[in-house]
């Protein structure tokens, strides 16, 4: 690996961290916040979906569990606003715990069946949260907000989300180079063969699944705090689950860079289209984008450029 790479990345991160200093409008801070959030979601989905080849269609469930757990912890423990943000870390832990319980039986199922069972799981969690009064039921939950100017609070949220993104990406990067990641890739290629090569497939899968639930959980907690009010529809929507998968696969699953590219492109395109075009037309163009990309780059953007770059 080229030595210039880490330096360039470090400079990029510092530039991103310094971005609020030049005094951009709150709109740009919020926009970057959502870009970071989707990068986190797509990259952590990639642990199990990209490296392991187990396409989870229920990852919004962990995002939502994190959001609701944070809100509930904050209201029950009467946390001051700043500590609420920290409460998103145990909330991520709760999401990981749920992943452990659900993942144990579900990860025995392979292929599209795994996708459907996780899809069902996301629905069950969504409907359960809507029906349980303790979790706000159909009304949702309110969170206390910092009583400082909007711009300052948005800047804090921006920096915290950036930090979480850097941590997620570091984990993703190391995973791609570790024995753990190699084991997962072997599972994706052929699980039976991997098992005969003494790779503990069941253990690796559950570890990857739990890890890939933790980061969305924390991100969900931050998102809940950012909105100040959460409702099941905002965080458990099936569209979020599908979007996460699409972002990762769009960029190219199984690489650490792919989900980042996918998440950035799709968030920017979606935002740009909804600003400049009529809602329906914007969605039609957005849909056409998926079709064009799959036809011309059926194995993701990363794969397409790697083939162009490498002279094989």
């Amino acid at each position: 690996m080229n030595k210039a790479y880490p330096v360039a990345l470090a400079i990029l991160v510092i530039l991103l961290a310094a971005f609020p200093c030049i005094g951009p409008e709150v709109y740009y801070l919020s926009f970057m916040f959502s870009v970071f959030m989707y990068v986190i979601l797509a990259s952590s989905w990639n642990f199990i979906g990209g490296y392991g080849g187990y396409l989870s269609f229920g990852h919004a469930a962990f995002f939502g569990i994190g959001a609701f757990a944070t809100a509930k912890l904050a209201t029950m423990l009467q946390l001051p606003p700043m500590l609420t943000m920290l409460a998103s870390i145990p909330a991520g832990g709760i999401a990981a715990l749920v992943a452990l319980i659900v993942g144990y039986p579900c990860l025995k199922i392979r292929g599209p069946y795994f996708s459907v069972v996780t899809l069902c799981f996301a629905f069950v969690v969504d409907l359960a949260v809507k029906n349980i009064e303790f979790l706000g039921g159909a009304e949702g939950l309110w969170l206390k907000f910092m009583d400082i100017p909007e711009k300052t609070s948005r800047t804090i949220m921006y920096e915290v989300m950036l930090l979480l993104m850097v941590v997620t990406l570091a984990v993703s990067w190391f995973l791609g180079r570790s024995r753990f990641g190699t084991g997962l890739t072997a599972i994706r290629s052929d699980e039976e063969v991997a098992e005969t090569m003494a790779i503990p497939t069941a253990k690796l899968k559950i570890q990857a699944f739990v890890l890939s639930a933790f980061f969305p959980g924390v991100a969900g907690g931050l998102f809940a705090y950012y909105l100040g009010y959460i409702h099941a529809d905002a965080v458990f929507s099936i569209n979020i689950s599908i979007l996460i998968v699409l972002m990762a696969m769009f960029g190219g699953g199984g690489t650490w860079l792919g989900p980042i590219i996918g998440a950035v492109i799709l968030t920017v395109v979606n935002e740009g289209l909804s600003t400049f075009a009529q809602a329906e037309i914007a969605r039609i163009i957005y849909g056409a984008l998926f079709i064009v990309v799959t036809i011309f780059m059926p194995n993701g953007i990363m794969d397409f450029f790697r083939k162009k770059g490498g002279k094989t």
């Binding site: 579900c106 329906e280 849909g287």
Partner: protein, 292 residues
């Protein structure tokens, strides 16, 4: 609990289940034969529903008659779409994934075209007999529900007979069970894939019309329909027509019973919870399939 009420909701659950089975048959076939998970399948059903809505509203054509128009129309459209979109992605490493992303995009496009043409408010099919009902003893069946149910039973039977009795149907089954062997025996896989895809889309249209006779619909309804499709197809076993019909019945019984005993908002929760448990214990469907 009132026995009449239970039986009544059981029957309406079964009717609903059969309609989902008709919608699901094609989905199951494209998945089984072509390894294409067709996310926009339900959106095509919705197009069928909207076409029959417009034909009824502006020309006074009965939904059953308009099915005879929109089903062949969808068949031809689907042939074109196959050549244009589906065939190019058959060379992808992971065709399941590529097809899901592509058809997800197609579903977004279709949904928004429908929203542009027919606007986003919910619609209902109101044929001339919509207010009538068949009263048998203590039970009460609305005519549109009966027609929708009849249409779906007819549709599933037709697909079943096509696959069992006709030469093309047998070729489709051969391509599903042993693609290489089928090719050696002179089955043109591309042609069979195109026919399967077009057939699936046209049955989706018929299923959409049946469903529109039972429920109201709007441009984004296809998302919920799609989830029921997955339910029916997984329980029935991918590529299995009889299994799909059976799964429709079972899911109908479950939703019917939970409608009778549970508050409305818990019905879906129970259905999806049961499916999850089912999948964990029997991931390959109800019926053991030969030749897979």
């Amino acid at each position: 609990m009132d026995a009449v009420l239970i039986i009544q909701s059981l029957i309406s659950g079964i009717m609903m289940g059969m309609v989902y089975a008709l919608l699901g048959v094609g989905f199951s076939l494209t998945w089984g034969v072509m390894h294409v998970i067709h996310i926009s399948h339900a959106a095509f059903g919705l197009i069928g529903a909207y076409l029959s809505y417009s034909l009824l509203q502006y020309c006074g054509v009965d939904p059953v008659v308009s099915a005879a128009v929109s089903v062949p129309l969808l068949f031809i459209t689907a042939c074109g779409l196959y050549q244009l979109l589906i065939r190019p992605i058959t060379r992808a490493q992971n065709i399941v994934m590529a097809s899901m992303i592509l058809t997800f995009g197609l579903a977004i496009i279709l949904e928004n075209i429908m929203a542009l043409i027919w606007k986003a408010d919910p619609r209902v099919l109101t044929p001339t007999y919509s207010s009538g009902a068949l009263i048998a003893g203590p039970f009460y069946f609305q005519y549109p529900h009966l027609v929708g149910f009849g249409l779906s039973v007819l549709g599933i039977t037709a697909i079943y007979l096509f696959l069992k009795k006709t030469y093309t149907g047998m070729a489709v089954r051969a391509a599903w069970q042993q693609p290489e062997a089928a090719q050696l025996y002179g089955v043109n896989l591309y042609r069979i894939s195109m026919i399967t895809f077009a057939l699936a889309v046209s049955t989706a249209g018929a299923g959409g019309i049946s469903l529109a006779l039972l429920n109201s619909f709007e441009p984004h309804s296809h998302n919920l329909w799609l989830i029921y499709l997955f339910l029916v197809v997984i329980v029935g076993g991918v590529g299995n027509v009889i299994g799909t019909a059976l799964a429709g019945l079972i899911i109908g019984v479950i939703t019917g019973l939970s409608m009778a005993f549970l508050p409305f908002q818990w019905v879906n929760l129970v259905t999806f919870g049961l499916l999850m448990i089912f999948l964990i214990f029997r991931p390959h469907g109800l019926i053991k399939q030969e030749g897979m």
